[in-house]
């Protein structure tokens, strides 16, 4: 069937030229979108893990002029922890060790081994009780009254906003993918229908020679498969250098503040299966379109 020339002269219908381009575009965007989606997913995961607590309190070790504050620092830390633990809704408050500090700073400072020279503040990681409403603004004000040097970072607030943004982007990506599938299906339907119209005499002839509908459907399925696979593989060929370039650039940022998708176990299988998934979708659409159309013939 593949080796034989089709009985319907598809070479002559111009509508068929359109389909490979459409599938190419779809596969290209789909690969980029899923790479982006997967990278976003693992980045979110990473962020969620990076800061176990939801709040951090900073106690500066140096004053504005750059002079060390000496013993005052440890005093402030102790008073802050004491205050926090008395506050309802707070489960834990502990000072971060040097090791934990290093881990946290890794994304920004890289492999710097000794950063004791840097005027870094001491950090207190605060874990909130689950589902216990805490008024952050009030807490911040009270704390700053008791320990004027302390400043509170509301990770939860900005992280949650960031996560919400990322989730939004994921939703949009999914929507774009769905739209692409829809557009491609419509392209297949359109191209198949106009081809059916062009080849009406030949189709009538095949019917008159006793061809079943499936005989004609199969010819269309092969036509669509060939064209969409060509398009799909071209889309893959275009997308590969793009994702490789982007992930190389991202990797150069180091530290994993933003992660790439390649590490995900399903990434490469997904990328390489997309052209085939797209072809399969097109073929199924074409088959159904032809089959429904032929029911109108005698």
């Amino acid at each position: 069937m593949l080796s034989r020339k089709s009985e319907l002269p598809f070479v002559y219908d111009s509508s068929s030229l359109f389909l490979p381009w459409m599938v190419m575009l779809m596969v290209f965007i789909a690969i980029l979108a899923s790479a982006g989606g997967m990278a976003l997913n693992s980045t979110l995961h990473h962020w969620n893990r990076a800061i176990s607590g939801s709040l951090t309190v900073q106690i500066p070790t140096h004053d504005r002029a750059g002079v060390t504050r000496g013993k005052q620092v440890q005093k402030d830390i102790d008073r802050t922890i004491e205050f926090l633990l008395k506050t309802p809704g707070i489960e834990k408050a502990e000072q971060l060790s040097k090791d934990q500090m290093r881990k946290l700073m890794d994304p920004w400072l890289g492999d710097l081994d000794d950063f004791s020279d840097l005027p870094l503040p001491e950090l207190i990681d605060v874990t909130l009780k689950k589902d216990y409403p805490v008024n952050f603004e009030e807490l911040k004000e009270k704390l700053e009254e008791i320990v004027p040097s302390a400043s509170m970072d509301m990770h939860r607030v900005w992280l949650e906003r960031l996560i919400a943004l990322a989730e939004g982007i994921k939703k949009i990506t999914t929507l774009v993918l769905l739209l692409l599938i829809l557009t491609t299906s419509l392209t297949v339907i359109y191209s198949t229908r106009s081809s059916l119209a062009v080849h009406k005499p030949a189709i009538e002839l095949l019917h008159m020679m006793g061809a079943k509908d499936s005989y004609i459907c199969v010819q269309y399925a092969f036509r669509t498969f060939r064209m969409s696979l060509i398009g799909g593989l071209a889309g893959l060929a275009l997308a590969l250098p793009v994702i490789i370039t982007i992930s190389t650039l991202v990797a150069q940022l180091k530290g994993g503040f933003i992660t790439t998708a390649q590490g995900q176990p399903f990434f490469w299988p997904v990328v390489f299966s997309l052209p085939f998934v797209a072809s399969f979708l097109s073929v199924a659409t074409a088959y159904i379109t032809v089959s429904r159309h032929l029911k109108k013939f005698l």
Binding site: R4, K5, E7, P9, V11, Y12, P201, A202, E204, L205, L206, H207, M208, M209, G210, A211, K212, Y215, K295, L298
Partner: protein, 247 residues
């Protein structure tokens, strides 16, 4: 030719009070009443526009009657489910007046079409198709594209395609309009050979010499009505099945 067995039918085709109109035009066929006995051979005559092609198209299922009943191989066509039609059609060979060949394919692929549709194996197809193409004198054009053939050559391809499957019913619409008398007679002999093997044949033609030469009974159309005229005795009108019946 592949040995497709021709089953016994009481009637190959029967028309009862059939009328046909195109869209909302006048009836081009009116009150058509006739039946084709198995193994019969007829000419279909009538002046241009009399409705010969229309009548044949009712038999090769390109049109449905506007009224009346058509039965093919003892099956009423009105009631037949769409799924059954391919199997009825595979028993019918048609030579279209305008050939209806697939222009982008070769002589070979055109003639092979009915066999491929019926799912015959490629090796068998190669054997039978090659043989028949030689018989109609196109051995030299077997791989030529249809667009490169002359009118008469195309006609022979159309005839070969119609008979390759050894149909139970052969409908030929002006099958010799584009060839000289000698070739026309030779091609009609092909139909007679098939007829002797049991195929029921209807040949629409304008050609008086052919009608006289072969003398088959005629289905004659005039003003949309059909008349059956008896044939004249001729050496070619030997029909084993019909004579058996008459005895």
């Amino acid at each position: 030719m592949p040995q497709q067995k021709i089953k016994k039918y009481t009637q190959i085709a029967s028309f009862e009070g059939v009328g046909l109109r195109y869209n909302n035009g006048p009836e081009v066929l009116r009150d058509i009443h006739f039946s084709l006995e198995p193994g019969s051979i007829h000419f279909l005559t009538g002046e241009s526009g009399a409705g010969k092609t229309s009548l044949l198209s009712l038999m090769y299922l390109d049109n449905r009657p506007s009224r009346g009943h058509v039965r093919l191989f003892d099956t009423p066509i009105e009631g037949a489910p769409r799924k059954q039609l391919p199997f009825i059609r595979r028993k019918i060979g048609v030579v279209f007046q305008d050939f209806r060949l697939l222009e982008h394919l070769s002589t070979f692929d055109n003639v092979a079409l009915p066999l491929r549709i019926a799912g015959v194996k490629e090796a068998e197809i190669r054997r039978h198709v090659g043989e028949l193409i030689k018989w109609v004198g196109l051995a030299g054009q077997i791989n030529s594209k249809i667009t490169t053939l002359s009118g008469g050559q195309k006609q022979r391809v159309a005839i070969a395609r119609a008979v390759i499957n050894r149909p139970a019913l052969l409908l030929a619409d002006e099958p010799t309009g584009n060839v000289d008398d000698e070739l026309a007679k030779r091609l009609l002999h092909l139909f007679i050979e098939l007829n002797k093997l049991g195929t029921t044949v209807v040949i629409a033609t304008h050609s008086e010499p052919l009608i006289h030469h072969f003398g088959f009974p005629r289905l004659h159309l005039e003003q949309g009505r059909l008349q059956v005229l008896p044939g004249v005795t001729s050496p070619f009108c030997v029909n084993p099945m019909e004579s058996e019946k008459e005895e």
